[in-house]
Structures are given as C-alpha cells and as structure tokens.
C-alpha cells in the first residue's frame, strides 16, 4: 500500500498553498493499478483515489504509516509525523527549503533551489503557487 498526503494546510486567504503539488493526477496514473493507494487528508480536499481517509486522529495516521510500503507527500506536518515514526518516504518540494524543513532520511525531491522563497520564515500566504517549481511526475516515479 502507498500512502499519499497531497495537500499542505489551507491558507487563510483561500489562495492555493504554494507547497501543493500540481501533478497528482498524472503521478497517480503512473503508479501500477495493482498497488493500493490510500489518500489521507481533511474534509474539503480534492479526492484523488477511491480510498480517501479524512480527518484521522494522530494514532490512526501513525498506524497507516507503519502499514504502508512507502508514502508520498508535500511539505506539511505529515512528513514530520512519518519521520518521527522512522518511516522514510518521498517529499515533493517547491518553495520551502528541504535543508531547513526536510529530513535527510527521506527522498526530498526539489526541482531547483532557484524556486525557493527568499524568506523561509514567513507565512506562505503571500507566496504564489507556481507549477513550474515542482518536479514532474515522470521524475517522481523513478524514486518509487
């Protein structure tokens, strides 16, 4: 089973979080159908696979982390939770710096440091979502 955590926290402004990976549909298409994918997230987020588990408490998330073969996510609390459970995965980066917010145990896929936000320590409200800042699905799939 592969666990995906596609979306970072919603912004107060309602704008798209610049850390949200824009190519999930294409990436999921490239994963063999025989592999069960579980999406985790919260109510209101776009459903990408049949098995979407919403609003799970921390202990259930930890159990899913234990049970999965690998996980894929964006820079959000989930990558930290998986790290605390000693389960390596794939993190899809864009504007936040994996050297600061990432964990070396993971595959931190950053397209180019040129896309990193100049100030890493402000809210993400004023940073625009840029699909070009992300690595393409065909690159991600090589790491699975």
């Amino acid at each position: 089973m592969i666990l995906i955590h596609p979306y970072a926290k919603k912004l107060i402004s309602g704008k798209k979080n610049p850390k949200n990976y824009p190519y999930w549909e294409e990436l999921i298409q490239k994963i063999p159908k025989s592999i069960h994918i579980v999406q985790i997230g919260i109510e209101g987020e776009k459903q990408l696979v049949d098995d979407f588990r919403k609003n799970l408490p921390i202990n259930q998330l930890k159990q899913l982390i234990k049970d999965c073969r690998i996980w894929i996510g964006v820079d959000s609390f989930f990558q930290h939770l998986a790290w605390s459970e000693n389960k390596a995965g794939i993190v899809l980066w864009s504007v936040s710096d994996p050297l600061i917010y990432g964990h070396t145990a993971n595959n931190n896929l950053l397209k180019d440091r040129v896309y990193l936000a100049k100030n890493q320590f402000l809210w993400w409200e004023n940073t625009e979502h840029n699909p070009d800042a992300f690595i393409k699905p065909e690159e991600v799939i090589k790491f699975l």
Binding site: S76, Q79, H80, W83, S84, Y101, N119, Q120, F121
Partner: protein
Amino acid sequence: MDKVLCSVATRGRYFTTLPLVLQAIINQTKLPDKLVIFDDNDEPLDMRKEMIYQYFFQILNIKKVEWEWIYAPKKGQHHIHQIANEMGYKWVWRVDDDAIPEPDVLKNLFSYATAIDSIGAVGGSILTPPLQFEGYFPTGKIENIDTEPNIQWSNIEKIKEVDHLHCSFLYRAGVHDYNLGLSRVAHREETLFTYGLKQKGYRILAAPHAITWHLKNPEGGIRSESKKEMYAHDDQIYRNIINYRDKTIIILNCGLGDHIVFNKLLPDIPNPVIFGCYPEIIPCRSIAEAKALFGDIEHWNIYKKMDQWKWTESLENAFRKLYL
C-alpha cells in the same frame, strides 16, 4: 571588530539632564561607534535647531562618531531598547537620560566585557547624591531582589558576578530579547533582560571604576507614568518568570509539524514546562496561559528566531539552539 552602539532613550529632559548625558558620552575616553538617541517625547522637537545640540552633533561628526536621532514609537523604553538590540552591533551601551557617566565608563566596561569569556552584560555604579547605600553589601542574587538594594546603587569596589543589573550597562546585543509584553512603564525591564542573558548562560558583572552619576529628577523620564496598574501588571509578569527560573519554559505557538519535530528533542531538555497548541502531540498548557503569565511570548517564536539568526540548518537544530 567588537562595535559598540550607545543608546539613549529620552523623554521630558531636552533642557535638563539630556545635554549633560550627551556631553558625557562625547567625552568618553573610548568612544562608541554610533550614538542613537530615541526621542520618546509626546511633542518631539527638532533639536538640530538648538544651539547646544548643534554643537553636540558637530563634535560627534568631528570625532567620527556616527549618530542618529530616532522618534520613538511611544510604547515604552523596552520597545526602544529592543530596536537598539537589533541594530546589528555586538555591544550596546545603554545610558539613561538622567545618568551622567564619568569619562572612563565605557572604556572600563568594554575592557571587562571583552577580556572575560561569555559576558552578557556589565554595569558599574550608579550613584545618586547624597549617597544612601554605602555600607551595604548586596549579593546581586535574584532571590534577594526584594530585600537588598541593587548592587549598582553603591560604590562597587571589586568585580562581582551577579544575577541581574539595574540600569546603564553594556550588554551583548542580539542574543536575548527585551520582554515586549510589559506595559509602557516597563517596570523591571532591565532586571528581566539581564537575568534572561544569565539564564542563556552569559555572565553578568558588576564592575568597579565605572561610575555614573544619577541626577534623580522627578520631572520627565522615560517612565513618567503613574498608573499603578501598569506597575502591578509588569511586576506580576516579572514574578511569574522568576517563579519558573528553575524550569525550561517552552512555548510552541506554531504548527502541528513543528510540535512533532520539537518532540524529538524533548528528552534532552531539563525541567520542561510546555505551552503549546497540539496537546495530542505533546501534553501542554495553553498559549493563552503563557501570554497571561509571561506577557511577551515572542522570545519563543521559532520562526522569528530563525529569521533573526538567518538560519540555514534544520528546524530541529533551531529548536536545539533555542532551548538547549
């Protein structure tokens, strides 16, 4: 190079003690690299139009001391000192606007600060005529603050390590913040600041041969407020912080992921008392309670700290720097 900023906060003393203070600074045997005057007057004047001040500014230029006159935000002197604290100098010499340093004060304070390892702050005697506190032998311990005069109020004859200082001292800038949760009167702000430096592992010294004369004046002054409730508010914050002095106060006013990262280093932290947002990750008390107890909780804002430190390492290491 250990650059020194001299910072003077002033209110209501344009034509009484402030000129004497500026003259004393100009006549130091070691000059600061820059003098900044924070004007906290309700109706600030352009002092470039006053003859005496014109001379002061010219002499500063001749002596190649950079100077700046800043109209202050009128939120209390703790806000002013925090601005100075963040101006990028290694040391800040804060001088009150009614305290006249003898010519060798900065030279001597600076020599102690740079000759001894890990100095956080060093202050000399602040003497108010007629002398009242000779013959006392204060310990300078924080637990004795209610029962003894401040060590700076008498003639300091030999160097002594203390827990806190009272006023007009030289301090290491940029390593500890002033408590901006205090009211406009900023009661106990120096004590909290210098004791905070000590809690961060820096040494606080009361030093001899650095006498400043305090021309106590009920008129004017940065603390010219009389509201008792402000003093009571600030004193309560002071007492709360001191009551937790044997604990490591941890305030996680940040995201869920930050709590998870912090949790990894929790076993290394001595006597933690935690205030946070996600008790399901770390058992904690509320952020509202932390604000009520300690006033300003920005000292513990990990993102503000990383920004200040121009941080490039991991978030986990930033937490280690803040708490260990």
